[in-house]
Amino acid sequence: MAGRSANGRHGLRGHAGRTAALARLLHKDCIQLLELYRNSESLPSSPVDGDYLVSIPPLVPQLSDEEKISILHAALKECLRLLEDVITREDAEFSDEDSEYKRKRKTVRDRLGHLLASTEQLLVDGQKFEAKVKEELDGQAASGSFGLKMWIVRVLQDLVHWTGQTSDTLHSMPAEMEKAPKTMSRRTRRGAGKIRK
């Protein structure tokens, strides 16, 4: 988290700066959401057994910032899908009474959608990455309500992780990134070609 300073190391401005700020805000929201869920379910703070649900190609240093953003955008997209699954399943299975957790859950969903839309504008033209989800909800929920709850925790842990990654990456971007989009696009294409090899 050290890199997630208020204004970024390079003093991002404009759209990239706003995206970075939104990512940082969303990251905090996700932390609070996970905490609210743990408290409401009396779950221990120890992590749930299992890896992250969403997997992406490794963010190696050779990747350009734009490529990293593209990969993280794909991860966040999967996170949003998982979160919407969580909301649907939770509301169907459990009480639909209002709670602070549910209000925060809605906030995270909305802001995650905004962040996706915002990062989409920073993506390289025509370059698409896809993230994978290792375990879907159906397999986990077969073990009962507790399995569903653990899967929700894992989704929320993924949200914390990937929004944090995105926030860090956005804040580490150079300030001049958005000033020369065409140049960046060319450079990004070259980098993307390498990845595909």
């Binding site: 992590p47 057994d49 459990f94 009962g144 309500s145 507790f146 709850k149």
Partner: protein, 936 residues
């Protein structure tokens, strides 16, 4: 020997063993034991074949071979299958660990061999290496006990099992299985109670248990809204605490799913057709409730709200209301309807009935009033309940002409008065008034003279030109028209002074009036009350009383406390009102708001006459019952008089001594005293006394004192003389002064300050007079300075001093100070400004006697220089140089004498008298000297 013993033991053991084997061996071992687990139900069914009917059963936790059941059961053969079957309910989920069972037949004390062990594997076998917890998603009632087990995955440690937030004590069942038992479980939260199994670093697995109650619904009631279908409702009852979708309560009505309730929208179900009886079944995983209801349709009519409510004809005093029904079947229903009318202070409820009621006429409304109407109906026969209320509907009735005004005329003099009328209330104005019309007629003039007044006016002045009565008619006007005129004829003016008014006492703030019935009061009576003494715009009020009454209670609401009212009763007829009686009184007396006026004290000798005037009537606030007079002391008021006659407005305070007094006069009513008026007076003497005391007495005292002083002085003249006019002792000179040895040149010492020291034991024989040596050089200088500063010539001082008295220090200090002030009590410094010289002449010196200095006045500065020079010269000659050596014609002597300026004696007992005419002794001195000397 030993061989025999061993053989015997072996034989006995062999017999024992063969006997035992014979007991068992008689019963065949049960065959074909099979175990059929029901995992959700946590039951294990055992089936076997055997000819016996009594069996011993043992069930183990296989891994640790812990016996969990050891029981003897009687099981008969199932006639269909020919098998024995027995079911065991396990407190532990069967998945938790492997279970093994075996069975043997029993016949009283003989048993068969145990059947081979049959085992059902648990989830803790090595093939299932993951973590698991059982049971999952159980729904149990509140207060139940439950056992959970955690199977730890391979190669993972076990730390704890949490039940909610509570850490539980776990029991190990196998290598990987641990169990807890939750007792008396409380109701779960929204998402159930979590049971979580943790290792040191991870949350391994867990389960959710839903603890709640069976359905608590009650009170099923079915009714119809449209005279065909049914709507059944009930009370939800206790919350089951089960909010999981699959745990929620499911409802069926007469066997049909109740969708409305199952969607948790409302606690009611609908049915398209009315049925005679209704059964609601409420079911959840913990129980089922059956609710019953049965009724005729006509007894359960709950009408819907009337719609399209409108007022078709609105008048001033009535309106016709119409509405319609959304259900056509209502048109034939005998119904009763209730209308609620809401208006400001005009709320009412009215009932109407009829078949398919859809219109009513609202009577007895008030003109120009906003009404809000709400309507609801019910079935008249077999009334069940009022139907839904219609939406509020607003009706505003039309205006009507105002009611007649209540008019009165008040005369404040013989030819002036005022017509008053009371404002009309909303109920009487029947619409907002736009004004009043006042008409007057007199006997001399024909017809009426109308005047229009704006609505804010409630009076009109009347002037009688010829002293004849006039009649005034007043009518109110609103947009609907003019009211009936109210007429009043001027009553005869009767001043208060012309009547003998009685005092009117109030009862609880009200006046209870009664009067003799008057035959002329054909139109009743009028009671009028007005503040006494009021002039101009007075708050005149009145009340008309029917002729049948001869009493009236004037309530405190229309009276002001502390105000004196004049209350009059008039007889009303077709002509002018006739005054019958008049009173004055206070509804509530209060203490006067102001003190008495013009309080004045008037001293007469040792008496003081206090006089005052009563305060104005409007400040009296009650009938003045008297006055109290107080003498104000420092801390309190001392009552000195209480005058109970309010007409007495003076009081004489007698026998006062010469001092200052403060009097307080207070008027009092029945409510108490006022704050009081204060007056102060300082008692003074009369003029003759002042003359006597102020002038003659001091003069007499002074005269007496003078006489006494004179007598005293005369008697003690010797002492006085000694004290104030001592004899100057003669100089005592050593040597023979009788015969002169030559011409004496007596020169006074240049520093000719001589001290005469007086001692109380002054003795002339002693050497008491000596010249004071000029102590030090500083002293000399000081003296010189003093002399130089003074306008006077050099002073000669005589000090009477006791010889040998060590008071030189004082002298030194004295000499440094003012040169002509006395020193202290033991020393008297006398400066003789001019004493008559004794008989002496300038030539006396030649005669060897004392020769006074004869000096002419010369400026003071020069002699001092000379003085110092001489002093130095004199210092060469030890001893005293008599004055005879002083030569009169010496210019030094002349200069010196000039510095002296006043009679001075140096070492002489004689006073030195200058010959200067300016320094002649005063006659008074001479007289006083003679007086002291006893000379005439």
């Amino acid at each position: 020997m030993q061989g025999w013993v061993t053989l015997a033991l072996l034989l006995s053991l062999g017999v024992g063993c063969s006997l035992g084997q014979n007991g068992v061996g008689e019963l065949p071992v049960p065959r074909g034991l099979t175990l059929n687990p029901d995992l959700p139900a946590q039951t294990l069914s055992l089936t076997w074949q055997s000819d016996s009917s009594l069996f011993d059963l043992e069930i183990f936790h296989t891994e640790l071979m812990n016996v969990v059941l050891n029981e003897t059961v009687a099981v008969k053969t199932d006639p269909v299958t020919g098998l024995h079957s027995w079911t065991w309910h396990s407190p532990l989920p069967l998945e938790c660990t492997s279970h093994s069972a075996h069975i043997r037949a029993r016949n009283q004390q003989s048993v068969s061999q145990w059947s081979p062990l049959q085992t059902i594997p648990g989830w803790d076998i090595p093939e299932k290496s993951e973590s698991n917890m059982f049971p999952q998603d159980k729904v149990v009632p509140v207060g139940s006990n439950m056992t959970f087990c955690c199977i730890v995955k391979e190669k993972e440690d076990f730390k704890e099992i949490m039940y909610g937030r509570q850490e539980m004590s776990a029991t190990r069942l196998s290598r990987r299985t641990y169990a807890i038992t939750a007792t008396n479980q409380p109701v779960s939260g929204n998402t159930g109670t979590n049971v979580i199994c943790c290792s040191q670093r991870l949350t391994l697995t867990g389960a959710v248990v839903f603890v709640g109650y069976p359905p608590g619904d009650e009170g099923l009631v079915c009714e119809t809204r449209d005279l065909a279908s049914a709507e059944c409702s009930w009370k939800k009852g206790r919350d089951t605490g089960l909010r999981m979708r699959r745990s929620r309560t499911k409802y069926t009505l007469n066997g049909r799913d109740c969708l409305e309730a199952n969607e948790r929208k409302r606690w009611w179900c609908s049915s398209k057709a009315w049925e005679q009886s209704w059964t609601l079944v409420a079911r959840n995983p913990l129980g089922t409730v059956h609710l019953m209801d049965s009724a005729q349709l006509t007894d359960r009519v709950h009408l819907l709200a009337p719609v399209n409510v409108t007022a078709v004809e609105v008048k001033a005093w009535s309106a016709t209301l119409q509405w319609s029904w959304s259900v056509a079947a209502y048109k034939k229903l005998e119904m009763v309807c209730q209308l609620q009318l809401f208006a400001h202070e005009l709320n009412s409820t009215r009932n109407y009935s009829g078949p398919g009621l859809s219109s009513v006429v609202l009577e007895s409304l008030w003109p120009d009033v906003d009404y809000t109407v709400t309507l609801y109906c019910g079935s008249k026969h077999g009334f069940w309940k009022w139907g839904d209320k219609s939406a509020p509907y607003r009706i505003h009735t039309k205006m009507d002409r105002p009611d007649a005004l209540d008019v009165w005329m008040w005369m404040d003099s013989s030819n002036t008065g005022c017509v008053f009328w009371k404002p009309l209330s909303v109920r009487k104005s029947h619409g907002a008034l736009v004004g009043y019309e006042v008409s007057q007629s007199s006997a001399e003039e024909d017809g009426w003279t109308p005047v229009s007044l704006p609505p804010g006016n409630f009076s009109y002045p009347i002037i009688l030109n010829n002293g004849s009565d006039i009649t005034v008619a007043v009518a109110a006007r609103n947009p609907a028209g003019l009211s009936q005129p109210s007429t009043v004829t001027t009553p005869a003016y009767r001043a208060d002074s012309q009547l003998s008014m009685s005092e009117l006492l109030s009862t609880n703030g009200s006046f209870v009036l009664s009067w003799q019935p008057n035959a002329n009061a054909s139109s009743g009576y009028a009671v009028e009350w007005v503040p006494t003494g009021c002039s101009g715009l007075c708050p005149v009020d009145w009340k008309k009383v029917p002729e049948s009454d001869s009493s009236f209670t004037l309530n405190s609401d229309s009276l002001v406390a502390g105000v004196r009212y004049t209350v009059s009763v008039y007889a009303l007829s077709t002509g002018a009102p006739t005054l019958l009686q008049r009173w004055q009184g206070y509804s509530q007396e209060m203490t006067p708001s102001q003190s008495v006026r013009e309080l004045l004290p008037n001293q007469s000798g040792s008496d003081v006459l206090l006089s005052w005037k009563a305060t104005a009537m409007e400040n009296q606030r009650g009938f003045i019952r008297g006055y109290t007079i107080y003498l104000a002391n420092a801390a309190h008021l001392e009552l000195i008089a209480n005058i109970s006659d309010p007409e007495v407005q003076s009081y004489r305070v007698k026998g006062l001594s010469l001092s200052s007094y403060k009097f307080v006069v207070k008027a009092y009513t029945s409510a108490g005293e006022d704050a009081g008026a204060t007056v102060a007076i300082k008692m003074e003497m009369d003029t003759a006394d002042m003359l006597f005391v102020g002038i003659l007495v001091p003069l007499g005292i002074m005269f007496c004192c003078l006489i006494l002083i004179s007598i005293c002085c005369y008697k003690k003249r010797e002492w006085v003389k000694k004290a104030f006019y001592p004899e100057i002792p003669g100089p005592k000179v050593p040597g023979d002064w009788s015969s002169p040895q030559g011409p004496l040149d007596v020169k006074p010492s240049p520093h000719s300050l001589v001290h005469i020291v007086e001692s109380p034991e002054w003795d002339f024989t002693k050497e008491g007079l000596f010249p004071v040596p000029e102590e030090e050089e500083e002293s000399e200088n000081d003296n010189i300075e003093v002399d130089a500063d003074s306008d006077e010539p050099a002073l000669l001082r005589y000090y009477n001093q006791v010889v040998g008295d060590g008071s030189h220090g004082n002298q030194v200090s004295d000499s440094s100070g003012s040169s002509n002030t006395s020193v202290d009590s033991t020393q008297t410094e006398i400066t003789y400004a001019g004493i008559q010289s004794p008989t002496s002449s300038q030539g006396a010196c030649g005669g060897g006697g004392y020769r006074p200095q004869m000096q002419s006045v010369i400026g003071p500065a020069e002699p001092q220089i000379e003085f110092e020079a001489d002093f130095q010269d004199d210092g060469l000659h030890a001893g005293y140089k008599p004055q005879c050596s002083w030569q009169l014609d010496s210019p030094e002597a002349e200069n010196f004498s000039g510095s002296l300026g006043s009679p001075t004696s140096v070492t002489s007992s004689q006073f030195l008298i200058p010959e200067s005419s300016e320094e002649k002794p005063q006659p008074s001195n001479t007289w006083f000297h003679n007086f002291l000397s006893g000379k005439s």
